[in-house]
């Protein structure tokens, strides 16, 4: 609760709205005891006195009545009517919604049909019809405005109630033999009230506007009594000659409604946890680069070389070191596997290459990624965009989410081609179909006309691969492309990638959490843990004699077909959160061989020949292994 108010106050606009609204409400409350002139006493000799005159701060209207007094009395009336309408609408709407949601079945069906029917009317039209039946008058206008808002409340509250009506505590109350009325009053209602209050705060502004509108039309408050709407309505005939009589009530309505809207938005923002974490920010076209030092020299040869890459997530005060000085390289025709648990930073490493890490909150703070001779980190967006998909292409996990749901797959392929090549649509479409054939999609011509949701997971993944091949790239970065697929489809996809690599001399960086996949496809493998490389080497050598305890345990997680004697071991514990890493080895807390020295200082990645390990007490001595 305290946090809620802090958030609300920090939102300056909401605070301003709140202050303005409080002043207006306070004035309205104090109106009867303020030294004001009588609002309804006419004095035709003093018609249309201009504002800021002696005795009439806001002037007088067409009957010589004091505007200030009428304004405050009118505000009082408008606020009261708007608030009353909101209460009525909330009460009846909530009652209907709770009954429909709680009882469900036929009751629900009949009630909601009626509600839908009412919602089929244009909102104001229904209010007009009700006023037509009841006759003009402020109370009738109030009833009309409340009535047309009842369906809105009913629908909202019903939705929430349906969610609660089958929770355990309600079932428990039912089993305890409580009556329906008691359950609704003691179990349902307390849980629904916050929703009612929020719905009220978002609609009360509308209700004030609508009642003012009906009064403006002459269907609400009747003379001499005036709310803000009827003041405006009466002033309309004198609009051209004496605009102040219109401006005064109009501006007051504006202040009230705007204050309510500002405050309501602030309340909603403060209550909405998604906004709190900043998750509703949209990622920018390329990851932000805030690199202080010069990019380091490339540590190795290769078509793509990462050197000391550092990518972080900045969330509020916290800094998550997702990628912590990672160096990797891949040569043409080579497949490099990057393996690790979820949260190890392997995907972020992959996405950092082409600046695809969502930013905010992602920031690349150091290191270098070189494609051939070009430095990608900090490259101008225009240049980076030209390389994306053309020279370095991605294959993503879960193609249902990664393909656009509303475009045909053929069109998505055509776009991939046309972004980088000036070719006509017909030509591009032909190439797209060819690409689908290359990834062995049957009936490629007709499949190109399909939408992603019409295809199976395996077919969609093939489309994803076809898309990455569209411009014959040099490097493909595959981010867990087979994770969402079943085993047979996975095997097909892997052999497809393997063939393509052989045929085209592609360099592949293959991100996975599965050592089985690595063994099938990758020449070399790098093991990541908590944002760092802990081991690297030729796949077979690492599999035969893992050096890092983590690698060894990870390999032990892979079930072996037909053997069955070895114990399948899970690694107890979870990877550490990368926002407060202790010095030393991040795996130490889960490691069976942990010694005091492991957690006192940084441990270097020790390279011996083609292999490297970041451990003081490796499982395999790399020097011995090398000999």
């Amino acid at each position: 609760m305290k946090k809620f108010f802090q958030l609300l106050i920090r939102n300056r606009l909401a605070a301003a709205g709140g202050v303005a609204l409080s002043i207006v409400v306070l004035l309205a409350l104090l109106t009867p005891i303020l030294p004001l002139q009588e609002p309804n006493v006419t004095n035709t000799a003093n018609r249309f006195v201009k504002p800021f005159s002696e005795g009439h701060l806001l002037g007088t209207d067409h009957l010589g009545r004091d505007m200030l007094s009428r304004l405050l009395w009118g505000t009082r009336l408008s606020l009261a009517v708007g608030f009353a309408a909101a209460i009525f609408a909330a009460f009846f709407g909530a009652a209907i919604g709770i009954v429909a949601g709680y009882f469900g079945g036929r009751t629900d069906n009949i009630i909601m049909r009626g509600v839908d029917m009412l919602m089929a009317f244009p909102y104001i039209l229904l209010a007009l019809a009700i006023v037509a039946a009841l006759g003009p008058g402020l109370v009738n206008a109030l009833i009309a405005v409340a009535a047309v808002n009842v369906p809105f409340f009913a629908r909202n509250i019903r939705g929430v109630t349906v969610g609660i009506a089958h929770k355990e505590f309600v079932d428990a109350a039912r089993l305890a033999g409580l009556s329906n009325t008691r359950i609704i009053l003691t179990e349902i209602l307390p849980n629904v009230i916050p929703v009612i209050v929020i719905a009220m705060s978002t609609t009360i502004g509308w209700m004030i506007l609508e009642t003012a509108g009906l009064s403006f039309l002459g269907l609400g408050s009747q003379p001499p009594q005036a709310d803000l709407g009827s003041m405006l309505g009466e002033a309309r005939s004198a609009l051209i000659t004496n605009p102040h009589t219109s401006v005064v009530p109009g501006v007051m309505i504006l202040i009230i409604v705007m204050g309510i809207n500002l405050l309501g938005d602030g309340v909603r923002d403060a209550l909405d946890p998604r906004l709190r974490s900043g998750a509703l920010t949209r990622p920018m076209a390329a990851t932000v680069v805030e690199r202080e030092s010069q990019p380091p020299a490339a540590h190795a040869e290769g078509v793509l070389t990462m050197t000391d890459l550092e990518t972080q997530f900045h969330v509020g005060e916290r800094v998550y070191k997702a990628v912590n000085k990672v160096s990797l390289n891949v040569a043409p025709g080579e497949c490099l596997g990057v393996i690790g648990e979820s949260g190890s930073g392997k995907s972020v490493t992959a996405l950092s290459v082409m600046g695809l890490v969502a930013s905010p909150p992602g920031v690349i703070v150091g290191g270098s990624v070189r494609y051939k001779d070009a430095e990608l980190i900090g490259m101008k967006y225009g240049r980076l965009r030209e390389l994306r998909g053309d020279r370095v292409a991605y294959i993503f996990q879960d193609p249902l989410a990664t393909l656009h749901p509303l475009y045909k797959v053929g069109d998505q392929l055509v776009e991939a081609i046309q972004v980088h090549h000036k070719v006509g649509r017909a030509e591009a479409w032909k190439r797209a179909v060819d690409l689908l054939k290359q990834v062995r999609i049957p009936n490629a011509e007709s499949r190109a006309e399909s939408y992603p949701h019409e295809m199976s997971g395996g077919m969609r993944q093939r489309v994803g691969i076809a898309m990455s091949l569209a411009n014959d790239p040099d490097v493909i970065i595959a981010d867990e492309p087979t994770t969402a697929l079943d085993v047979t489809v996975q095997a097909q996809i892997l052999s497809l990638l393997n063939d393509l690599r052989r045929e085209r001399g592609l360099a592949i960086i293959f991100i996975t959490h599965d050592f089985g996949v690595v063994a099938q496809l990758c020449d070399r493998v790098a093991v990541m843990y908590a944002g760092r490389i802990v081991e690297e080497g030729p796949t077979q050598a690492v599999l035969d004699a893992p050096a890092h305890p983590y690698t060894k345990r990870l390999i032990a997680c892979v079930p072996e077909l037909g053997e069955g004697r070895r114990r399948l071991e899970a690694i107890p514990g979870l990877p550490p959160a990368v926002d407060r890493l202790d010095p030393g080895c991040a795996f130490a807390p889960r490691c069976l061989k942990k010694e005091a020295a492991c957690v006192t200082r940084e441990i270097e990645l020790a390279r011996v020949g083609g292999r490297a390990v970041r451990c003081l007490y490796p499982e395999t001595d790399l020097k011995e292994a090398a000999e």
Binding site: L128, P136, G389, P405, M467
Partner: protein, 315 residues
Amino acid sequence: MTGYILKRLISAIPVLFGITVIVFLIMAMIPGDPATAILGSYATPENVEKLNRDLGLDQPLVARYFIWLGNMLQGDFGRSFALNRPVLDEVLDRFSATLILAGTSFVLCAVFGIAAGVVSAARQYGFADKAITFAVLLGISIPSFFLGMMMILIFAVNLKWLPVSGMYAIYGGGDLPDLFWHLLMPALALAVVATGVVARLSRSAMLEVLRQDFIRTARAKGVNERRVVWRHALKAAMVSIIPVLGIQAGFVLSGAVYIEMVFQWPGVGRMLVDAILKRDILLVQGGVVFVAACYVLFNIAVDVAQSLLDPRIKT
């Protein structure tokens, strides 16, 4: 597609039926004797009885409803006693004026609302976003009738750029440019609130979509940012924007009543207010049913548009 449209049209029949029931029941709530209400308290009993018979009010409620409904289905909405002309003729005349006004406002709110929302989302927290957010807030807080009055004051009275009110100039008007100049202010005043609502929703829909994985895919393909935002993201965001456009259509259609009063626009809203004040019940009934029915049909068009956009909707 034809099958889908047909299916939606058939499913609208119970809704239209329900609308007539609701309107009829609301009108039946009128306290006291409608004939006395119409004729005033000085009417002779004979006159009251005659009017009751003419209006079919001597029949029971259910019978009265079906007579009214049957007549309407044959195109007879009854006769307005205040105007002494068939209700349907009057409604059709007035509705065309409302349609011009509300239709223009609807196009304005859709085009500017979506554009503002997209720009706002694409430049989140930038200057454009803040400016648009503030303008939207102002727009949804200002009563349209007050805005209309202020526009008259500024653009018609002080600057003399535009005509004060009406649909055509009284002398020498009646052509299309004349209509355009008369339409400009009321259409804008009516569109402001709806534009704000559409802009707000478009912004949040765009922000939601821009975080999706398929946007990252488009960027990974090398698609330029403008195309990412205006094609990939907007197309996906339209799925949630279109239903709101449907709601806003109802809003401009019925909210036109205020603007028609302010600008003396000869539309159906002003007709209804006059009819309410004169207790011209049949005209109110007919007008409300007609406009609500048009809105139901428009919403079917919205559903069809939605199904054309989104192949995942089963047609």
